[in-house]
């Protein structure tokens, strides 16, 4: 066995191993299949080998990014959580994953990225606090834009304002989807009997953020909470497969939210000031050089002697100009 595979994913919070649905799916699948991964929990997607998260760095095929592809890759490495499934159960897996993507994902995007209260209070705040400077000014908006675009295109119409009609329509589909999942799960521990499979990983990935995030506008959450077996399903997987995450949050929560936020900001602010001054200076200098207010002359070697005092002269000029 070569070096362990490396997985890059969003870091966790709210008592979850990661805050992102796709990352959670992959992490859960890896745990179910027993794949030994070296997990890098990062907050800067640009540091992942593919530029997006999650990403799996493999020795033979480069890096793969989509959860389905990562799972296929793990399966090829003999880490297969679906080994015991019958062909029909495999087909069901595929079908229910489609159901999640078509019905639940749009509502999740809406709840986390479009609902203005949730977005401002939770999603944007989390990303702004966790993504390193200076990307935290740029990336949250960019991700927001991408998610919006995705939702708009998936729904296939142009008007997409966070309004009552859109919300009700999306939530109606999502409620139905959750109820269907709950009926399918019944009183089982996992979707196909006693051991978890990839469908469990997907459902966990979609539902866990909803179950754990503290959203000010929690209509979807309320519906999930009313379905006992689904909620238990999520907490079960968390306690069984991610025991360390389950214990962390209470202590982390109290310390990091009220005070941690403030004292984290202080050193950053000083650094931000210095950096912004530097950037401004750089921009001014660049502008001066580009427009020809200040010019830099290359001096040939042969004219070095002669040029030494010219050079001095020039430097004086430069200072004057600036």
């Amino acid at each position: 066995m070569a070096a362990p595979l490396e997985l890059y994913c969003w870091k966790g919070d709210w008592g979850l191993p990661s805050v992102d649905t796709d990352c959670l799916t992959v992490l859960a699948y890896a745990k179910f299949a027993g794949a030994p991964l070296k997990v890098h929990k990062i907050t800067n997607p640009w540091r992942s080998p593919t530029g997006s998260l999650p990403a799996l760095k493999t020795s033979e095929e480069g890096s793969v990014s989509q959860p389905s592809k990562i799972i296929i890759h793990l399966r090829k490495q003999k880490y297969n959580a679906d080994y015991d499934l019958s062909a029909k159960e495999g087909a069901d897996t595929l079908a229910f994953i489609s159901l999640l993507e078509e019905k639940l994902l749009p509502a999740l995007i809406y709840t986390f990225w479009l609902d203005s209260k949730n977005y401002v209070d939770v999603t944007r705040r989390w990303h702004a606090e966790n993504i390193p400077f200076p990307l935290n000014f740029y990336l949250p908006n960019r991700i927001h834009g991408q998610q919006l675009e995705r939702l708009r295109l998936v729904r296939g119409d142009n008007g997409l304002e966070p309004g009552d009609d859109v919300e009700k329509e999306l939530y109606r589909d999502a409620f139905e989807c959750m109820s269907l999942l709950s009926q399918r799960l019944g009183s089982h521990k996992f979707f196909f009997g006693d051991s978890p499979s990839s469908l469990d990983a997907y459902v966990f990935g979609y539902l866990a953020p909803l179950a754990k995030a503290k959203l000010p506008n929690g209509k979807l959450q309320q519906h999930l909470n009313s379905l006992d077996n689904l909620r238990n399903f999520c907490t079960n997987i968390l306690t069984l497969y991610f025991p360390s995450e389950g214990r962390d949050p209470p202590s982390q929560k109290t310390s990091s939210q009220p005070e941690g936020g403030d004292c984290d900001n202080e050193p950053n602010r000083r650094r931000n000031q210095v950096l912004s001054v530097l950037v401004a200076l750089g921009a001014m200098l660049g502008y001066a050089i580009l427009t020809g207010i200040v010019s830099i002359q290359r001096v040939q070697a042969q004219g070095a002697l002669e040029s030494s005092h010219r050079h001095q002269h020039q430097e004086e000029e430069e200072e004057e100009e600036e």
Binding site: K88, D92, L94, A95, K103, R150, D165, E169
Partner: protein, 276 residues
């Protein structure tokens, strides 16, 4: 349609019986309609036939722009207009016609899931092939899509549509897939459907449901449509039970009705060499 209006509509819908002059609108059959629209339209027609609800098929070049959701097909029943299979199923249910009443909760969940599988994989693959594969776009999609319009509108509308579909593929992560990967996905989807169907006559044993209508609509259209190559239909032909499933539905819902259903379907179904 707003939800209040929708609730209102379903209430009146329940009161009124199904009228004789109900009509289904779709793009021109011979030189305009595209694979994905044809499949969706056939699915709706099949569903209505399974419910034994009469429908007259109207071909309009601007069907896409007449539809309330911008998607074809749509049906015009009494004074209501409903588009796409999902809402149409809801609508007929409100009128008291339903195919899935006999299913238990788990089966209903599975039926919904498989319907999303078809939408998520087969429909997206059809869209991908017809708008993102350069050969197909140049030879089939663009000429057909723009056939009712004159220059320069034909180019503008086709590019606009292509641009829209490509952005959608980007957003759902299909843009990076090659054609081979898409065929692979179709094959995977067919395998799942085939496994689920097994040796039963319909997906949920004896009784046809909306899932059967949807699957039939897509598979039959793919099997009977001539594309630049026949790789897509070959993927389906690997699964014998899916083929006989298509044949069974064709026989029991289309051939016996041919007399009263007009010329539309009979001419289409007569040129289906792949099935016989």
């Amino acid at each position: 349609m707003s939800l209040a209006a929708e609730a209102f509509v379903s209430q009146i819908a329940a009161a009124e019986p199904w009228p004789e002059n109900a009509a289904l609108y779709q793009p021109l059959k011979d030189d305009q309609i595209l694979l994905s629209d044809c499949a969706s339209s056939l699915a709706v027609q099949t569903y209505l036939r399974m419910c034994r609800l009469p429908i007259r098929v109207s071909y309009r070049a601007n069907a896409e722009y007449m539809s309330p959701s911008g998607k074809v097909p749509f049906i015009h029943v009494g004074n209501q207009v409903v588009s796409e299979l999902g809402p149409i199923v809801q609508f007929t249910k409100a009128k008291g016609h339903s195919l899935s009443d006999g299913l238990d909760e788990v089966q209903r969940a599975e039926m919904k899931a498989y319907m999303e599988l078809v939408n998520n994989m087969l429909l997206t693959a059809e869209l991908y092939i017809q708008w993102c594969d350069e050969n197909t776009v140049a030879e089939i999609t663009r000429p057909r899509y723009s056939s009712p319009y004159s220059w320069p509108l034909n180019h503008i509308l086709a590019y606009q549509k292509q641009w829209e579909v490509r952005r959608k593929m980007n957003a759902i992560g299909w843009a990076g897939k090659g054609l081979a990967q898409v065929y692979e996905d179709v094959s995977q989807c067919c395998q799942a459907l085939s496994q689920r169907l097994g040796i039963q006559p319909y997906f949920f044993n004896k009784q046809p449901t909306e899932l059967d209508a949807l699957v039939f609509g897509h598979l039959f259209t793919i099997l009977t449509t001539q594309l630049t190559n026949n790789e897509l239909s070959e993927k389906i032909k690997n699964y014998g039970n899916l083929l006989s499933f298509c044949r069974r539905i064709e026989q029991s819902f289309f051939e016996e009705h041919d007399g009263d259903s007009g010329t539309g379907s009979s001419s289409r179904f007569s040129k289906s060499p792949s099935l016989i």
